[in-house]
């Protein structure tokens, strides 16, 4: 250090020390503030905590490694984030009505969440009608998908399918493309639920295929997409599941990156080129209301991934180092009490996501702590994004929090925490092995309990829940429930459809699928073929569960 700089640092130290004395005198007993990831938050950050000396290595410019400031040179100033609302309700007709309304309101992409019966791996005719379409749309066939996407230009609008292995919804989508004469390379979007490991350890919403079976289909699906649907993102690593299940933001990012390494190495081991496969990796995160912590989580995650993709996974193309992510405002922070307050919460979460540099976003409806959003709340959720972009001018400057002593210090501290988590997983033999050993499940359980304890002790305050409780009668929020008669008609039509098919042909495609599962050919090609021939979601899943094993999540105390 030059004498001049050393003198300046001494001056600064003295100035900060004098503030410290004054602060201590005036504040009396100071509060201890620890963020959700366990990092102690100090009252003031200065150049003593973070200086620009490592600017080039740690920050750089948007669009260049290590991408801390964003993965594209233009970021939101050039192209706004994709407004992609998660939608799933009722019958395919109900879905179509909602998606049409949202596209008119400004949504720029769509996503589809199947009915929970689908997640259980069964069709609507095997489910209690009371539960059908209450949480997700009933989509069991290519016909259903065709109805759901009526009038939606799937060659122009990107779609996200909440579709675990073996990706039946995607197969139905390709069936629809084929019917409409749309070449597969025009289909864009993301397999939002391809992260099977997260299903076993965290949210358990999967089609109940065994873990080794899911691993096999995952790799075949990536290969299939590379060959036939090159603009589809077959991989989405879902940090959201981890955080919703209780992981802290730092644990979430660590587990997500460790999972991504597992998937990347599985694909590379299967002969794929990291420069191809990593360009199609995407991520899906929760955005909690812990504002600065979330911004730092995303900035640190981007930086770590760029280094891993380059140094560990051997990708040479900088485009393969980009950490593309979708953010969803966290439902965990929303309250059933005083539900309109959730509009304010979602707004704060959304800003954290935008400043965190996301590529696509879902904002929750204010009633999402209660049920599927109603039309009114869904409209407000989209409007929130429009207001932040158009009126609050959040897109004018790229990475506007960069250079903040606090945000940069926190980004560095979050990075350390994230790397610690990744080391635990690495020591266990990677994410697949760590999940097998219950390490991840225990981490999630412990953090969920700790967070609940913080709420109970009042360390974490939630307006309307453990402080500022309302004296007045709660406003009743209408909850969405599908029309029972329409759902019964849907089930009856589905039964008639099944009975009217060419049964020999269905048996043949299911037999082919079983043979592929037991052999070495690409099993996903046979899934697409079966769906196209009229096989249902439940039939495809049942076959693969028979051949590749039934999936139970591992429960750990």
């Amino acid at each position: 250090m030059s004498d001049e700089r050393a003198a300046a640092t001494d001056d600064l130290s003295r100035t900060v020390a004098s503030w410290q004395t004054q602060y201590a005198k005036e504040i009396g007993q100071d509060r201890t503030v620890i963020n959700r990831s366990g990092i102690e938050i100090r009252p003031l950050y200065t150049p003593l905590d973070w200086s620009e000396s490592r600017y080039d290595e740690d920050l750089g410019v948007p669009g260049a490694a290590p991408f801390t400031r964003g993965i594209y040179s233009t970021m939101h100033r050039g192209r706004t984030w994709t407004q992609r609302q998660l939608i799933g309700l009722g019958t395919p007709e109900d879905y179509n009505a909602r998606v049409t309304m949202l596209l008119q309101q400004g949504a720029s992409a769509i996503s589809l969440l199947p009915c929970n019966s689908g997640f259980r791996g069964i069709d609507c005719d095997e489910s209690p009608v009371a539960l059908l379409g209450t949480c997700g749309t009933v989509i069991n066939t290519t016909d259903h998908m065709d109805t759901a996407l009526k009038g939606v230009e799937i060659d122009r609008i990107s779609t996200a399918m909440n579709d675990p292995t073996p990706f039946t919804l995607f197969a139905f989508l390709l069936g629809v493309a084929k019917r409409r004469g749309i070449p597969f390379d025009k289909i864009t979007g993301t397999a939002n639920q391809s992260d099977y490991i997260s299903h076993y350890v965290a949210n358990h919403m999967f089609y109940r295929l065994s873990q080794p079976g899911a691993r096999r289909v995952f790799v075949d699906h990536v290969k299939f997409c590379r060959a036939h649907v090159p603009n589809w993102n077959p991989v989405s690593v879902v940090g959201q599941h981890m955080q919703q299940a209780g992981a802290t933001p730092a644990e979430t990012m660590g587990l997500t990156l460790s999972t991504a390494i597992q998937y990347a190495e599985d694909c590379i081991d299967a002969g794929m080129d990291p420069d191809h496969v990593l360009r199609r990796f995407t991520y899906f995160f929760d955005i909690s209301i812990s504002f600065f912590e979330e911004v730092a989580k995303f900035r640190a995650g981007r930086r770590i991934w760029a280094r891993i993709a380059r140094d560990r996974l051997g990708a040479k193309d900088p485009r393969a180092w980009r950490f593309k992510f979708h953010g969803q405002t966290s439902g965990v922070d929303l309250t059933q009490q005083q539900p309109l307050n959730n509009i304010a919460r979602v707004t704060a979460q959304a800003i954290a996501g935008i400043f965190g540099g996301l590529q696509s976003m879902h904002t929750d409806g204010f009633d999402e702590a209660l049920a599927c959003p109603t039309e009114e709340s869904a409209r407000i959720a989209v409007a929130t994004q429009n207001i932040l972009r158009e009126e609050a001018h959040l897109c004018d400057v790229i990475d506007p929090l960069a250079g903040s002593y606090y945000v940069e210090t926190l980004t560095n501290e979050m990075e350390e925490k994230i790397l610690d988590v990744m080391q635990i997983i690495e020591d266990a033999g990677g994410m697949y092995a760590a999940a097998d050993q219950g390490i991840v499940q225990r981490m999630l359980g412990r953090s969920a309990l700790e967070y609940q304890n913080r709420i109970e002790s009042g360390a974490e305050k939630i307006v309307g829940v453990n402080c500022y409780q309302s004296e007045v009668e709660e406003r009743e929020v209408p909850t969405y429930r599908p029309d029972r008669a329409a759902m019964e008609a849907q089930v009856a039509a589905f039964r008639a459809f099944k009975a009217g098919r060419d049964q020999a042909r269905i048996r043949a495609v299911i037999d082919d699928l079983a043979r592929a599962a037991n052999g070495s050919q690409n099993v996903y090609e046979r899934v697409v073929e079966a769906a196209d021939a009229g096989a249902t979601h439940g039939e495809i899943i049942a076959c693969l569960r028979r051949e590749l094993g039934f999936g139970h999540p591992q429960m750990v105390a």
Binding site: S117, A130, F206, A245, Q336, G445, A448, E456, T479
Partner: protein
């Protein structure tokens, strides 16, 4: 013999029925009940209603706690009907999770003893389970004497 937590801790089955797999809530509640000294029987999600009834009988539980995040509470009346069909009248059923205001009456009418929404404290839940377990044992003792 009168039962008390001292010679026989409360036995609680914590479970999820239906289709939803989100178990953060049920895990946290199970941990609180365990830490309060109760014996907790915990199941993975997606239990069949009949399986829950069988487990409640085999494990001789006082209270069944059903967690519901994503509308599975809509089939809880079926669980109560199945308990009655199996002649299990003393076991108390409580529900925790996302239960919209307008759907509470149906559950209470079906025989659910208590409903806990997000924001309920562990203290409230533990106290309620304790009281309901005592009630369940009192009913069972009366039934046994009558036999």
């Amino acid at each position: 013999m009168t039962y008390s937590p001292a010679n026989y801790p409360e036995r609680v089955l914590v479970t999820k029925i239906g289709f939803d797999g989100h178990d953060r809530g049920s895990r946290v509640v199970a941990a609180y009940l365990r830490d309060a000294g109760m014996e907790v029987i915990y199941t993975p999600p997606w239990q069949d209603i009949r399986a829950v009834v069988n487990l409640a009988i085999q494990e001789d539980v006082d209270v069944i706690g059903v967690s519901s995040l994503a509308t599975d509470h809509l089939i809880i009346p079926d669980l109560l009907a199945e308990l009655r069909a199996a002649d299990v009248t003393h076991v108390r059923v409580i529900v925790g999770g996302i239960i919209p205001q307008n759907e509470r009456p149906d559950l209470l009418q079906a025989g659910v003893s208590a409903i806990f929404n997000p924001g309920a404290t562990s203290e409230e839940i533990v106290a309620s389970v304790r009281a309901l377990a005592a009630e369940a044992r009192a009913v069972r003792d009366t039934e046994e004497e009558a036999m």
